[in-house]
Symmetry: C2
Subunit: 318 residues, 2 copies
């Protein structure tokens, strides 16, 4: 008798969009057998190019993602979009509004859009994005775009599940250059100054280029800076041409190695945490430790140390 | 011969502010013996009240924190402030500017301010906040205020290291009520409508109260809604009076139990992750797994499963 995920994967192979959505939910929720499902999905994946798009709220990420997806689609590519929705109590509402703007492309059956919450994601946000990107890849999408807001450490780190990261800036963003310096150098493969119809776009491009030149390292290619506008459509074709060139020429084994390492450690840590949590809850040791801490018989640091001594980590060579 | 942390703790007990800063850094960086240091700090702590302040960027959190701290200080209390600085490449700059506004109180020796980065925090952001709050508590602070921006899941969850959470809103925040509904009910003990000198403050209070009434649960006290303004000083005294009442009457064992459970699991998971990571790196198994995945001999899910079989988790009762 086939497992539920076996039926879903078979249907996904037949192009069933609802089965695709169901399979993603199944894996995201870590339902029984999710790992077996991913073992089957994994070898089916590997042909997509995974792009990451990030930037501060208001940078126009959704609209740009929309424009890129439409153009690639018109050129014959199938697209999957993963929209990371911060379920922040504060920005949630506004970003949901944002999402609505993308509706006009979601009616196009060649573009599959999937929202992802940022809270309570089992197995971690970045791993969830990796799993979903892989499922979309296996379903036959040529391109997967992960769009995530550039606030909050987990939210930003999601783009690490992609092969190529675009950082979207815009004129009038405030302390933009200052802010960009703080920690984006290592994540951005391409800077996009969006809303280029606004005043200050050229200056922003110059500033970013100057910053990149100053902080450039020998042997490391300096990311390019491009300008786009959803109003005038300026730069959109150039951007898509640039992305297509990446799709054709990419050979980023070195980077993949880093991604693989990160994924193993992430999977491992979540799995071990889950096991430890389960075991401690089952055998009552957790409750016992809580009681002792509340009774002030022990501090949490010592309590954890004592519990850890019961977990054996084998020595090398065993 | 005394350990470095032993000398620091001794100095902190003597009121040495520089030693306090050094001890915090020592524990934050998980230097050798940090856990032993915390075991000594733990029983010294327990008299402070730890308040959490969160809200969207621009809500006036820093200014309000400043005002609360000054007033409590004038009433004879000593204060420690933990300012969680998102090192987001996008908002970093702006928030640093925010921080500068707090300088006028940091010259007051009775108020100790500590910034905390949100990226790369060893042991997790929330645990780091817990540790630092405990050190400030042990150093004799009557009140510890954890101020964190309400965007990003980790950044928001930091307030869970506090005993009482204030959610700062302001008129004109946009889809505010809608947004607040999304997931703050469980974290806010008090709603503060700040910038009450602006138009729409009263309407906002009413809306929040209506929302709280609608979603109220039997037996659970509905959080109060207060209005404040840093311009007119309206509501500041009332707010401080309210906080002092909490300090005097708090008996939140039930909540503490939840906090203790969360802390044990967090400490445990980070410790186990660290051990697993270390072990896998040391014995070359991680590199071996990476090679096999890159050579497409195995998928990451299977590789992790295989590695996990080498870690023994004892069965209950052992």
């Amino acid at each position: 008798m086939a497992e539920p995920w076996e039926r879903m994967i078979a249907a996904v192979k037949d192009g069933d969009v609802r089965a695709l959505a169901k399979l993603i939910t199944y894996v995201e929720n870590r339902e029984a057998g999710w790992k077996d499902a991913m073992k089957v999905v994994y070898p089916l994946a590997g042909t997509s190019t995974v792009f990451g798009i990030t930037g501060s709220p208001g940078a126009g990420k959704s609209t740009l993602t929309n424009a890129i997806a439409r153009r690639l689609c018109d050129q014959g590519f199938s697209i999957g979009i993963i929209a990371v929705d911060p379920s922040s109590p504060f920005s949630g509402g506004a970003l949901l509004g944002d999402r609505i703007r993308m509706r006009d492309i979601s009616v196009d059956s060649r573009i599959f859009i999937r929202s992802m919450a940022t809270r309570g994601v089992l197995g971690g946000l970045c791993q969830a994005a990796r799993d979903v990107a892989r499922i979309l890849d296996a379903s036959g999408k040529d391109v997967v775009i992960i769009e995530t807001v550039g606030v909050g450490q987990d939210e930003i780190e999601v783009v690490r599940a992609s092969e190529f990261v675009m950082l979207i800036c815009f004129p009038g963003q405030g302390d933009s250059i200052q802010a960009i310096k703080a920690g984006t150098m290592e994540i951005a493969d391409l800077f996009v100054v969006n809303k280029a119809d606004r005043e200050g776009a050229d200056e922003m491009v110059e500033e970013i280029e100057a910053m990149l030149t100053l902080s450039g390292q020998e042997g490391v290619q300096t990311p390019q800076v491009m300008k786009t506008s959803s109003v005038t459509k300026e730069g959109l074709d150039d951007l898509v041409t640039f992305l297509r060139a990446f799709m054709q020429t990419k050979k980023r084994r070195d980077r993949e190695r880093g991604l693989v390492r990160e994924e193993i450690l992430s999977l491992m840590e979540h799995e071990v945490s889950r096991m430890v949590r389960e075991r401690l809850t089952q055998d009552g040791r957790l409750e016992h430790a809580i009681e002792r801490i509340l009774a002030q018989e022990v501090d949490p640091y010592t309590a954890v140390e004592e519990m850890l001594q019961k977990f054996s980590i084998p020595t090398p060579g065993l």
